[in-house]
Amino acid sequence: MSTSPILKLGTFLRRGEASDDLRQMFLKSPRAGEAFYRDRWSHDKVVRSTHGVNCTGSCSWKVYVKDGIITWEEQQTDYPSIGADMPEYEPRGCPRGAAFSWYTYSPTRVRYPYVRAQLINLWRGAKADFDDPVDAWQSIVEDPEKARSYKEQRGRGGLVRCSWNEVNELVAAAHVYTVKRYGPDRTAGFTVIPAMSQVSYGAGTRFYSMIGGTILSFYDWYADLPMASPQVFGDQTDVPESADWYNSSYLMMWGSNPPVTRTPDAHFMTEVRYKGTKVVSVSPDFSDATKFADEWLRVHPGTDGALGLAMGHVILRDFHVKKRTPYFFDYMKKYTDSAFLIELTERDGALMPHKFLTAADLQEVGAWGDAGDQPAFKTVMIDALGQPFVPNGSLGDRFTESGLGHWNLDLQGRDPLMTLQDLAGHGTAKVLLTRFDTEISANASEGEKHLGSAEVYRRGVPTTQIAGRTVTTVYDLMLAQYGVGREGLPGSWPEGEDDETAVGTPAWAAAITGVNVEAIERVACEFAQNADESRGRSMIIMGAGTNHYFHSDTIYRTMLALTMMCGCQGKNGGGWAHYVGQEKVRPITGFAQYAFALDWQRPTRQMITTAYWYLATDQWRYDGLPVEALASPLAGESMKGRTTADTLVEASKRGWMPSYPTFNRNPLDIADGAEEAGMEVPQYVVDQLKKGDLEWACTDPDNPENFPRVIFNWRTNVLGSSAKGAEYFYKHLLGSGHSVRGAENGPENRPTSMVWREEAARGKVDLFMTADFRMTSTTLHSDVVLPAATWYEKFDISTTDMHPFVNSFNVAIDPPWQARTDYEIFQTLAKDFSEMAVKHLGTRKDVVAAPLSHDTPDALAMPRGSVDPYESTDMIPGVTMPKLITIERDYTKVFEKWNAIGPLPEKVGMTTKGVTFRPDKEMELLRSRNGVARSGIAKGRPLIDTDRKAADMILTLAGATNGRLALQGFKEMEKRVGKEFASLAEENESTLITFAKTREAPIPVVTSPEWSGSETGGRRYSAFVINVEHEKPWHTLTGRQHFFLDHDWMTDLGENLPTYKPPLDLHRLYGDAKIGEQTTGYAGDEQVAEVAVRYLTPHNKWSIHSEYQDNLYMLSLGRGGPAMWMSIEDAAKIGVKDNEWVEAYNRNGVVVARAVVSHRMPEGTVYLHHATERTVDVPKAELTGRRGGIHNALTRVLMKPTHLIGGYAQQAYAFNYVGPTGNQRDEVTVIRRRSQEVEY
């Protein structure tokens, strides 16, 4: 019984005296007129569900149903309590979620299967000519005229309603034909953010995994992946749940706008202020979050790295050097790489930081005894007597015999020196450091201007000699990099704190960022002071505002450094809190088995999507970005004369990154070829490559052999949302109308390692299809559109970083009209595919080229991160090139396998982040709960032939949702680490979260070795708590959090240490307009003023990506269509008033939108919200006469070479962990007021 006073009021008898004192009319019951509203409130049932992929909120909702119709939704309020002194999670939800039911019956609902008229006519014709559907498909796509005729119709209307049977046959035939003719890696599935509907995601990826298709990543492609995280932590992204904000006593919101983007969580921020937590907002505009801030740092867009560096300067100066704050010092020593030694090598009469000193270096000169296996991965510290030693916990202890029981952070009583200044008799040396913020000299030649504005400067560090090498510590290098001078060190240091020219000082940062010196000093000091007083409870909520830049990894590293210097990581209430496109699939182990069909075969083809689209949409032909323009002046020769596209090719060939399609030949035929040649597959492939008989597909994307042929989109809207360079997608991938405005590269800036075909390909993909419940830019361009069930019409599960609960989707109503769940759509496709495969495919061998993987011994492939020239590197599969793995696929059994759990989990275990789980008892449980297949290849295996059974497979086979497995995993971890972990899971040994339980209420997960935080005893989840409290290493080279990265390419780009790199200067790199430049253009015949502005695409209040931006409620609460926010000043420059139409253009395309003019915007920057679609109220552009583009019509893929590093320690590939980001925040656009007469 509730104690709520309101709840008790129901007992009140409606009575009392009617009263009327001339003005007031009191009425007592009964009052017949009230029946109207009581009727309105009535309903038949309330069903729990949540919202799927567009959102990472994972909120549980009540869906109201009356007469079989969904009426409305409200948030659930039944979250389990998170503690007496905490605000609860209830209610979770936002206006977007509250408006979702509009889609169920909206006029944009996809009710039936559709195929575009030209294609269905061709198909029906071909079916009349051919008995076999695969032959029919071939007759269309291999006839250039026919193929062109339907491809050019994409995006031009003409969708024809068809039956499911007819469409299923066409789709299955396209898949079978493509696998047979071009190879399974020419099919691809694009679906995103699995955490938010894991069964629906996995239904399709399970199918593609089984046929050998390519599964496209999203986190890196969205640029939501903070590449600094794998670099610094060796982890994809691990962050606190939002309730942990409430444990913070100093909170910065940096490039993050929680009220808008984390609406259900924002209350923890507003509420923690009442505990006396100071809240700081770092934002270029006065954002919704700034409203709550005690202090607003008005930073110039993209300059956050300078701010981070200067705050670090203040903290190192005042809290490390002026006084050695014991808490900070001890933390840095134990949990960061600060105390490790770096070898300095000679360069231009000075020294430059080179590599971590390792046991191998010591052994070489007899300075250390036997360091066991992999000594090159055992990094070295030094003690106060100058004795080097090899502490436990580096990567060399992780996968080796010698490391068993030693992979931990226990210094075993040794006290390493943080700085060699504390070493008696130390030397000093000037080291060469690079800066990237200098102005290009006005006298520079055009060629020089192109090469970047980097400069070398020299600062001193204390040194000593170890093993014949000059070394210093990471910490000493950090102090140099941050410009914190100390007595007796040579080199050029800030002449004072007001030295604007010296990298690191607040005065320097103030000139760059626009934030005044006092504020930088104050906030940095407060952040550190609070961390010291609270033992690490200073937190930075960081978001897309800083994470979506080309150089976001450098920005983030300066921010993460602040939390590391102040001992905040691994502390409740402290550390980084990155919230951009979270995708914490809490039951990750079970999910991976299900979604990637690891229960039947391993590995699966997982692709870095940025590279996939970059090549498939031919954006590489327009890019030509010379690596030298990004490089450090100290870079070696390896970056000379190359474009970033060349670095992608190199990373692919080296096996650093996955690359699909891999070769210019069907991988099924490669296996056959090896067999014919009587060779092992790896040997055969190397042989063929060496002979030049086989080529890498990434070197020739315009070769029809290398085209992606079938792309299936579900749970996503690439063309309306994430498609950086959207117009290039239309032009080259789809072959439809487009507004690409720039020219292709001239001969002088083309990639040297790729084939340049004079004519770029158009319309590469044969079948571009989408399952969705609403019409989007993607469905508008799809050949086939399938009607998908909404989130209130299916069973599924959802988890998130933001809270610890597993939430369920449930069927409030059955899918209406002819809609089907994603689960059923792929189940049917698997069946039809298997049947057609009998004639066309049978059993084939498939050669999968798999990249060198993180959290496996592959990470030991490249000692010291030294990159030898590719030409002189031998091809050794699994070391210097991808692993070449042969998988036998019985294509006729895909359906049977899809419906049942395969045998591999018991046979070889399930490995997540290096921990292997053995689900022996679990499989028995699933057998008895789900039933077993009675015949065929899956005979005796547990069934997952319904969505609910699939959900139970995921939940049962993961530690976070199955306490027995969690405990088992921790016990295994104990062996490797040599420390105690079991206590983290013992309280939950009997906990098993089933799908049935999640239907009753949100169910909290348990502490598991799959993640780094602890919920044990009711704690709030905070990342790296297990590392800090149980001395478990991070998954990095040193086993500690890294300030220093020593891979050659990091050195070449000048990013060994946290540094400041400004936003890309697109004027310099591509000849774009200069920001602020005012020009004159033509709107029709009329001369109009134009101005060039920075173009940012932050997240919108009225949509979650493209979802909801077409929702009538959301449109009625906003501006009703595409809106470009701009400052009063910029509006004045082009003479535009609020709500007038403007056009924005650059080399990539054109956007038409209405101006929103506001003084809360800074001059020189405009916002067009992320995923501004083109489906609603987008007229034709004056400039092109074509429909205005989406927000990404003005962007393009820009590839950063350091994101492509692989095969080395934490810089090794994992799906959605590491990869080039689809960043989009460095763009510039020209805006102008257009004619106010618009045409549609």
Binding site: R15, G33, E74, C94, S534
Partner: protein, 458 residues
């Protein structure tokens, strides 16, 4: 003494994130039907801004609410019965649809049904929901959200016009906050008094103000009579409709939709006991600055044994008295005095009250204090508020800044006091005493404002 119970609400604007979830859930449940397209029983406004409908606060224009005659009596600002009858077919104070917004939809069908070989990618154009014609959208239910169009729109905010202080709408001086609004369910409702048909009433048991859907004749005098413009005309049914305080939910023990779905957790719902005999007097005090005090004085302390006894004698059920004692609304209004009424000068004695937002400007503060890192100074220096005190005072206290400052000082003091506890130190009674409270008060208020769970908020 005539003891009555009023279902009331407090919204803590210091927590409002401006998400509009309340608006959407309310709309979905109550007003997503024909004739009500433009109607939002619950809306959220960015301030400074024009509000919904535009400039509704300008009573010189709209003539809503009451005014005090020279003889000390209240009269409707729009005039008495005689004037009403004269204007019954033409009401000059009625907002037009464009003062709200012209509701629209889009021809979404085109996305699926665009013919083959279309020249361009299909698009859904806006269509008026009133005329069915193509339209260009120029105003919405929340057009000036987040200061959109500020110089052209926010500058015309009637509150800014009333202020003595010059407010510059400049980038570095930006301020804004959100103001969610529902019907005020006033103790002295001018809408009820305006109705020529006697179709409007206050429910005797809980004071909820309703339009009798059977008796309403569609004269719309309530629409113009309400100074908050929270009675709307359903142009399909021809009747007035308004926020019902979700009485069908309240009656079965559920909070209002807007309260339950408020994800900022800023809404409090509860019973306030008041003396109905003092309503007229409270609404009629001469000085507008005294209205706040007069209204608070009309409220009755549910813990006072004499009040309890008298309420029981008058037939008030025991559980209602208990509910009044547990009411978080009473706590915020009368115990902590941090909540304030919206536009008391309309003299309707509104019953949805607000905790004003706290918005210090640290860089300004730091210029004037020696140690900007001292949290006590930081959090209590309110003279340099980002949001001018005078602006808040024009909203909540008829221009008197003192009660606003007191409320904000208490919030700031709570933060200072709790910081010590947060960091494991003892609370400093001096801080509490400086705002007329004790440390225990501070902790109680903190629990109510930060922690209070579902059962404690409603």
């Amino acid at each position: 003494m005539r003891i009555m119970a009023q279902m009331s609400m407090v919204m803590n604007l210091d927590k409002c994130i401006g998400c509009h979830t309340c608006s959407v859930t309310c709309k979905q449940v109550w007003t997503n039907r024909e004739g009500m397209e433009y109607v939002w029983f619950n809306n959220v406004e960015t301030r400074p801004g024009l509000g919904y409908p535009k400039t509704y606060e300008d009573q010189e224009k709209w003539k809503g609410g009451w005014e005090l005659k020279r003889n000390g009596k209240l009269k409707l600002k729009a005039g008495g019965r005689a004037k009403k009858l004269l204007n019954i077919f033409y009401n000059p104070d009625m907002p037009g649809i464009r003062d709200y917004y012209e509701p629209w939809t889009y021809d979404y069908d085109m996305l699926l049904n665009a013919p083959a070989n279309s020249a361009h990618v299909p698009v859904a154009r806006p269509k008026s929901l009133l005329t069915g014609e193509d339209m260009q959208i120029s105003w919405s239910a929340n057009w000036d959200d987040d200061l959109g169009g500020s110089h052209e729109i926010a500058a015309k905010d009637p509150i800014l016009a009333k202020m003595n202080e010059e407010v510059q709408l400049e980038y570095e001086k930006t301020f804004m906050f959100y103001l969610p609004r529902i019907c005020e369910h006033c103790l002295n409702p001018s809408c009820v008094a305006s109705c020529p048909s006697g179709a409007m009433y206050k429910r005797v048991e809980d004071g909820i103000v309703l339009v009798d859907q059977d008796k309403c004749r569609g004269w719309r005098m309530c629409v113009s009579g309400c100074p908050y413009k929270k009675v709307y005309f359903n142009h399909k049914s021809g009747k007035a409709e308004k926020c019902t305080m979700c009485f069908p939910r309240i009656e079965v023990g559920l909070p209002t939709v807007c309260s339950e779905t408020c994800v900022g957790r800023l809404r409090y719902l509860g019973i306030v006991l008041y003396d109905a005999d003092r309503v007229t007097e409270a609404a009629s005090v001469e000085n507008e600055h005294d209205l706040l005090h007069a209204q608070r004085a009309a409220f009755l302390d549910p813990f006072d044994p004499q009040i309890v006894a008298e309420a029981e004698r008058q037939g008030m059920p025991h559980d209602w008295i208990l509910a009044a004692q547990k009411s978080p609304v009473w706590q915020l209004i009368s115990r902590y005095e941090v909540a304030l009424p919206l536009h008391p000068e309309y003299r309707t004695l509104p019953m949805v009250w607000y905790v004003p937002p706290l918005t210090p400007i640290v860089d300004e503060v730091s210029k004037t204090t020696s140690d900007p890192e001292d949290f006590r100074i930081l959090f209590t220096a309110l003279s340099k508020m980002r949001t001018p005190l005078e602006y808040l005072a024009e909203l909540f206290t008829a221009g008197d800044t003192k009660p606003v400052e007191k409320s904000l000082r208490r919030l700031a003091a709570m933060r200072s006091y709790m910081r010590d506890i947060n960091l494991g130190r003892d609370g400093d009674e001096e801080i509490a005493a400086a705002v007329g409270m004790t440390g225990e008060d501070m902790e109680d208020m903190y629990r109510l404002m930060a922690i209070a769970d579902y059962d404690e908020r409603y």
